[in-house]
Symmetry: C2
Subunit: 253 residues, 2 copies
């Protein structure tokens, strides 16, 4: 059994219930987005138009919960530790599996996640275990149907040297948000450090560090909320799906 | 007026009627695929599942012939020199504009083309003006709805040194087919050199040259033919759409 298969089994059998950050390091992790078939074209178009934030790696056939390309045999209803449920513009309580929510008209999207290049960053000397937040920006996305809104971003404090290396390393992962979208001034892209979506309080800039921002896979969730989509189910933040793809085989050399 | 805008105007006003190869070098060129809205999700899914062959750069809203992101103000009905028309699995005679064929339910896709990195190859010392063919392979694509079939490939004869440089250069253009999919033996990927789709007779391998293969944007046309899609309109081979995007700003550094 590979580390990726073991991680999914541990999650399915509830031995692992926390975040997938750091789990099966070296395997591509994905964000999940599930919508009714009637919304699937709109979402796929939104992702295509905002591929930096929403790089689609696989779309399952309607009703299918098996990602045949990225993890044959896996079950998207059970193989993530926690799911977020959005109905008509409201976030409902999280659930730990989709067995009772699944329907034959649901279409599952797997979207590349920045967690994927954490392993490559670590090997290059860039720490990934702290100084990381998810925040709203005022960078507009390109709308598609009802999906619309601003880009959600991931921010890290890095030294200037780390920022350069992190730019080089993440550029090689265009299917996982790729290079940073901004380095430097949070206000220049409309980021308010006082109100992070996840990651706790940001606090003051550590001495000699710069803010580095990447497009974030939470973007389509915000767009679904704003568009009051009737139903969208996603991974809960940082509770992603571990695929069989080895990250190093997936990047640009 | 930029070279890209001038090229499109020359085409619209019928001053330029031939291939777009070599035209406005340095600007991203796209393949075109237009289908009825009822087929659009299937085609977008087919492209997502076979992104190496069909990297989608823009999808216009239903009925719109203006690619607002890649070339605001352009008109996809007139700004390509020649169009191919496929109906129910048959290729009809080419047309030189879409004015009489356009309908309010048509959805236009712009798909990255390998012509885009010709300029970068030339600057790196790899000639692009000869030894180039489009051929069927037996590499299967991942089907989506009715779209199915094998990958169409572009082949060039290059010296081993040029093959290495061409791999490096094209890797930086993942939205335009990216790196080669094969180097060496045509038979290994089921390519029959006797029957090219375009480019004339292949002939014998020139001494000291190797065959280098890229995924080709003709792939969705073949898939539409096999799937007997009721209507798909595309660019005629090598008669593409010149966008406003500068190729060097679009690639990975």
């Amino acid at each position: 059994m590979t580390p990726a298969q073991k991680a999914r089994l541990d999650i399915r059998e509830k031995r692992h219930t926390g975040t997938t950050r750091g789990l099966a390091l070296g395997y591509v992790q994905c964000n999940l987005a599930v919508v009714p078939e009637s919304v699937a074209f709109e979402l796929l178009l939104y992702c295509q138009r905002n591929a930096r934030a929403c790089p689609v790696l696989e779309v399952c056939d309607p009703g299918s919960f098996e990602p045949k390309q990225l993890a044959p045999g896996a079950d998207l209803r059970t193989d993530l530790p926690k799911y977020a449920v959005y109905r008509n513009g409201e976030r409902l309580p999280d659930v730990t599996d989709l067995k009772s929510l699944w329907r034959s008209d649901l279409v599952a999207f797997l979207i590349g996640s920045g967690i994927t290049f954490d392993g490559a960053l670590e090997r290059a000397g860039v720490p990934t275990d702290k100084h990381r937040w998810v925040l709203n920006s005022r960078l507009p996305t390109v709308p598609a149907g009802r999906f619309h809104g601003d880009m959600v971003v991931t921010m890290r404090w890095l030294t200037p040297e780390q920022a350069i290396i992190a730019t080089q390393v993440s550029s090689r992962f265009p299917h996982n948000h790729g290079a940073p979208i901004h380095i430097g001034d949070p206000a220049a892209i409309g980021v308010d450090l006082e109100n992070p979506l996840f990651g706790g309080k940001v606090g003051a800039r550590p001495p000699d560090m710069v803010a580095v921002f990447w497009a974030c896979g939470v973007t389509p969730q915000e767009a679904a909320l704003r568009g009051k989509i009737e139903l969208m189910i996603t991974h809960a933040p940082a509770h992603g799906f571990v695929t069989d793809l080895e990250a190093d085989r997936f990047c640009i050399p």
